[in-house]
């Protein structure tokens, strides 16, 4: 009996090795380890907190002197107006904008992207420490915190959920579907008809887009969050669903069977999801995520949902998603023409 169990166990492990499932077992812990390392090391890497001051505004001299003299903690930028400062914060050129509080002499209003973000916390902590040094325990210099992002914490997590849905269809469902059609020789059966390769590909992309749109609509209807600019939001959901459906189909073409497609899907899913979704917590992750198409979807969606962003300011991201979609579509077409692993 034991011999049989051992034989079957080794057989299962051999199958896991053959269909590349074993790579998941190695890859996931490695990936999580490196991601966490990047996130954890982020605060020490942020050498200076970038704060903005309004050029002509009148700040309390003690505060101004403290900020300017604490060169090791803050990098101070002067902005011409409150609007310019806020746009710098939105563009992540500043971690926070300091405005003089009108109702308090030694008071500041801190404008940050998110109230609960690491940037906001580090600014408050630094100010608290500096104030302790200069004045001892006193009324806090930061009198109020303003968040540029709208909505509560639920709305702020919405872009992450949307990204998860899009990537789930793109990297998990689509590759497996394509690989299944290849494995069961269904695709080749369809190619016995006068159907053109490009027709099959377009149909597949459309089916992926429908799945993504359905999931996003259900999420939107159930959560009932207000969307600032609806056309911009739709434009990004459409281009994102096109991009990742096409990407997923391409991955499916690289696999001979469903098991390989599932493995490859996860290998792409996590590196696209985690750096983008955690980009708010780490500058290092942000710098990596910038190169990922998932970030090109996540950032605009976040911008549109939380900061009233508009597609006119996000056209580069929109075009880059379209290009990735078109490029992977072209690769899939070439692989299909060559009957790759069919």
């Amino acid at each position: 009996m034991m011999k049989n169990i051992m034989t079957l166990t080794f057989n299962d492990l051999a199958i896991a090795f053959k269909n590349k499932t074993i790579f998941l077992i190695i890859f996931i812990p490695l990936f999580v380890f490196f991601s966490l390392k990047l996130v954890d090391s982020a605060p020490t890497d942020i050498k200076k907190i970038r704060v903005g001051l309004i050029q002509d505004a009148i700040y309390a001299p003690v505060i101004l002197q403290t900020i300017v003299s604490s060169d090791g903690i803050f990098t101070v930028s002067r902005v011409s107006s409150e609007e310019e400062g806020k746009s710098w914060v939105k563009e992540k050129r500043l971690d926070g904008l300091l405005l003089p509080a009108e109702n308090r002499e030694n008071g500041l209003i801190l404008v940050v992207l998110e109230k609960g973000s690491l940037q906001a916390l580090s600014i408050i902590e630094s100010f608290s420490a500096l104030q302790n040094l200069v004045e001892g325990k006193n009324l806090n210099w930061i009198a109020d915190i303003q968040s540029l992002q709208q909505g509560g914490i639920q709305k702020q997590t919405l872009p992450t959920w949307i990204l998860m849905l899009v990537l789930l269809v793109g990297f998990i469902i689509m590759p497996a579907q394509v690989a299944e059609e290849k494995e069961k020789k269904l695709l080749i059966a369809l190619l016995q008809t006068p159907m053109r390769e490009v027709e099959w590909l377009i149909a597949k992309v459309l089916s992926g887009m429908v799945l993504i749109l359905t999931a996003v609509i259900i999420l939107q209807v159930m959560c009932q969050f207000e969307i600032g600019n609806i056309p911009s939001y739709i434009a990004f959901i459409l281009v994102g669903s096109f991009c990742f459906s096409s990407y997923g189909i391409f991955l499916g073409f690289l696999c001979r069977n469903q098991a390989s497609a599932r493995t490859l899907g996860v290998l792409f899913y996590l590196p696209h999801l985690i750096p983008s979704a955690l980009s708010d917590f780490s500058q290092k992750l942000t710098s990596i995520a910038t190169f990922l198409p998932s970030y090109q979807l996540y950032e605009p969606i976040k911008n549109i949902l939380l900061n009233d962003g508009h597609i006119s300011n996000l056209s580069l991201e929109w075009i880059s998603l379209l290009c990735v979609g078109l490029l992977t579509f072209l690769f899939s077409y070439l692989l299909m023409k060559r009957r790759w692993l069919m």
Partner: protein, 227 residues
């Protein structure tokens, strides 16, 4: 429907695949492609069916290069050894989707269901059908566009005696209707019963091409097929 094959080649590795083959198959011929396992029979047939792309060479179907797949798709019907059907869907759905892609009227589906005695199974999912019934659906699908050329890859493999006889009857009927038929086989009785011409492949090379009577008397048969 004339099939011209010029230097058709497909190499998988050193001793597998198909070495350059030149052939002409005339309209209405019933050709048996035979040979041992790995001789290149299925590869040859699958290249004619556009399943595999050749490394080199060309196939001309009635003056049209096979590379122009869309143009010749209605001229060739292929029945693979293992039926590749949408198993979660019904027999009718399977035929409908292909009828749409072949752009043939749905009336043709009724003809096929009747001709292959599938009427009672039309609403059944393919996955619950027996191998023989699946094979009938697969043949029915290949015939949807009424192609003049039919390719069968080991059509009776794994079928019982009655179903084998049924498949032989079908092939004879198609042949009598003027279709050009090419099938791969291991069975001597199949070759004797059906074929008008035998093509034998050995290690990817064409070693015999002639009528069945000559084949069974040939040196190749004695050397390669007799114990």
């Amino acid at each position: 429907m004339l099939i011209e094959i010029h230097n058709l080649t497909k190499v998988y590795d050193a001793d597998r695949g198909l070495q350059p083959i030149n052939l002409t198959i005339e309209t209405g011929e019933l050709v048996a492609v035979i040979g041992h396992n790995g001789a290149g029979k299925s590869t040859f047939l699958k290249m004619l069916a556009s399943w595999h792309l050749p490394d080199s060479g060309e196939v001309i179907i009635d003056g049209i290069d096979l590379k122009n797949r869309v143009a010749v798709a209605r001229k060739i019907g292929f029945v693979p050894e293992v039926p590749n059907l949408f198993e979660f869907f019904s027999v009718e759905y399977n035929l409908k989707i292909f009828a749409r892609l072949f752009q043939v009227p749905f009336l043709r589906i009724e003809e096929i269901l009747q001709e292959f005695d599938l009427g009672n199974f039309r609403k059944n999912r393919v996955q619950i059908l027996s191998k023989g019934l699946r094979q009938r659906v697969s043949i029915g699908r290949a015939l949807l566009a009424d192609p003049p050329i039919l390719l069968f890859d080991e059509p009776t493999s794994g079928l019982d005696f009655d179903m084998t006889k049924e498949i032989y009857r079908m092939i004879k009927t198609f042949h009598a209707a003027g279709k050009t038929i090419i099938f791969t086989s291991h069975r001597p009785e199949e070759i004797k019963t059906l074929a008008t011409r035998v093509i034998m492949l050995h290690q990817g090379n064409l070693v015999f091409d002639g009528p069945p009577r000559e084949y069974f008397q040939s040196e190749v048969y004695e050397k390669l097929c007799l114990l």
